[in-house]
């Protein structure tokens, strides 16, 4: 049973990806690929400057997921691309460099350098819910999305993916991204949220607001993917609350060509990618499908 898929010009041995901001560093991205079985890995979001991130606590569990406000901590794109990207590439699966920036020129500088350093694609983080001026406002503004993607698509040889968050204008932004030359849309990012500790009587996260991920957001993400599949002809990558093969497969059925996995690593371990792959394989065999492509978008009832 073949689980390989194509994501625009990118080929993956299976439809699972490590989501941005999880494991983060090069040697762990390699481990997600080699030991975990991920079909592709995404780096943490790189910025132009070194960012320490917010003071702890920056991550906290809730009933059905995790809320984080790490604050786009990273060593700056130059250091990451020279020290971590080569290690990540030893995993021998596509490595997608996530990029966060405040201005078009910053996006361009980092993306071009990522391409030179050997990235297989870039993923524009237009949806970080906890750093001002670095995402959510941009992703919710179709004209801004169009400007950034058009600029990059004009200079990049590798694919440009756009990661959008939950917003009223998500569909418009996705359509704008496609028209401007994006090769895939990732939906969704974490959803702006918070946690209050009743014993401490205060917000838990130092930044107060963070992004909710995990099983709690899966049905919302699923709806987004379903809607995007109807509006787009480029591939959609589902992200949000994938915990096992079922929550990966329902994303595929809604129209995702691949899925990203993040928070579930905390409870299922790095081997979750292989677990998902095996679960999907068993389902496909049992139900007499001949490839994973046959289930992509199947929940829409009509073949596209």
């Amino acid at each position: 049973m073949k689980l390989g898929i194509r994501l625009g010009r990118m080929r993956m041995k299976n439809p699972t990806m490590l989501a941005s901001g999880i494991l983060c560093n090069g040697s762990l991205l390699k481990r997600a690929a080699v030991e975990g079985g991920a079909g592709a890995v995404v780096t943490k979001s790189l910025t132009r400057e070194v960012r320490e991130g917010y003071p702890t606590p920056v991550v906290v569990g809730v009933d059905c997921g995790v809320i984080n406000a790490v604050g786009l901590a990273n060593q700056g794109f130059a250091s990451y691309l020279s020290e971590d990207l080569p290690l990540a590439k030893e995993g021998r699966v596509p490595v997608i460099v996530s990029v966060a920036a405040g201005r078009v020129e910053e996006f361009e500088e980092i993306c071009v350098r990522a391409e030179e350093a050997g990235a297989d694609a870039v993923e524009l983080n237009l949806s970080c819910p906890h750093v001002e001026g670095h995402g959510m406002e941009v992703g919710a503004d179709p004209a801004a999305v169009s400007r950034i993607v058009k600029d990059l698509a004009g200079v990049m040889k590798i694919p440009v993916h756009v990661k959008l968050g939950l917003s009223d204008r998500m569909i418009e932004s996705a359509v704008a991204a496609e028209a401007a030359g994006a090769e895939a849309v990732v939906a969704i990012n974490t959803i702006r949220a918070m946690a209050i500790d009743v014993d401490a009587r205060r917000p838990v996260l130092t930044n107060v607001y963070g992004g909710l991920s995990g099983p709690a957001i899966h049905p919302i993400a699923l709806r987004c993917v379903f809607e995007l599949y109807r509006e787009l002809s480029i591939p959609v990558i589902g992200c949000g609350g994938v915990s096992d093969w079922r929550t990966a497969l329902d994303f595929l059925m809604a129209g995702a060509s691949a899925v990203q996995v993040g928070s579930a690593l905390a409870v299922r371990g790095i081997g979750i990618f292989r677990e998902i792959e095996e679960g999907i394989r068993r389902y496909l065999v049992k139900n007499k499908f001949s490839s994973v492509k046959e289930v992509i978008g199947i929940a829409h009832g009509v073949k596209r």
Partner: protein, 283 residues
Amino acid sequence: MLPENSGRQGGGVEGALSYSDFRFRPARIKKVVAESPKVKSFYLEVREGELPRPGQFYMVWLPGHEEVPMSASDAGADFIRITVSREGETTAQFHRLRRGDSLFLRGPFGNGFSLEGKSFLLVSGGYGAAPLIFAAKEISRAGGRCTYLSGAKNRSELLFLGELRRLGVEPLVATEDGSAGHRGLVTDLVDAVLPRGKYQRVLTCGPELMMYEVVKRAVGRGIKVQASLERYMKCGFGLCGSCVLDPVGLRVCCDGPVFDGELLLKTDFGKRRREASGAGVSL
């Protein structure tokens, strides 16, 4: 690739974690003990049935301040103990707490020491004594023998000597200023005792360069050695990757914090660590 005594994280294994394990819970302080001018122990009330293993740690938060990883230094039916050295702003705030105040915990996280065997050499440096005194208690309880080497800058920073003696363990001491025991480094004591004793395992915790020397000596003699590492952590449960050991990709929080020495020598242990941004710095 993982050490045999890897932490709880993992696919569907017994005792696997759930998201609510990553919440904080309050733990009331039952008792505060000054262990040295710089170090205090806090005895905390805990949930029924909760027993960390020696080497496991908690993420400890004081609301209004930061959250820091802390090894358990002892545990009993109704308490756990953490031992805090005053190193910065957050730990200074911890030191102002009194009986009846609360700290907020997540955990216990991580794997802990493997304590199979009968004959141990424990090598502690500074506040690295915290998980080792706990290990010494477990070893004694199980009928094992241990030699305990304790190093510190000076006499007043030597920790838990009385507790060790009550366990029947006579600690060998080294101080940098010679105010107690051997004048010099604890690794000098390691050089003196390691060739003579028949140790099945060496356990160490302390400054990383000290542990690196201990690990090299033990591995060189073919003796199993485990070190408990300290790294900057953001989440404590394996998601953020901040505490990674390169190039193997081991996370101190959930693949450790205790690692086998042979595995550590394949990493940047003793050479490099990552800061909060992820940037690497030489030790």
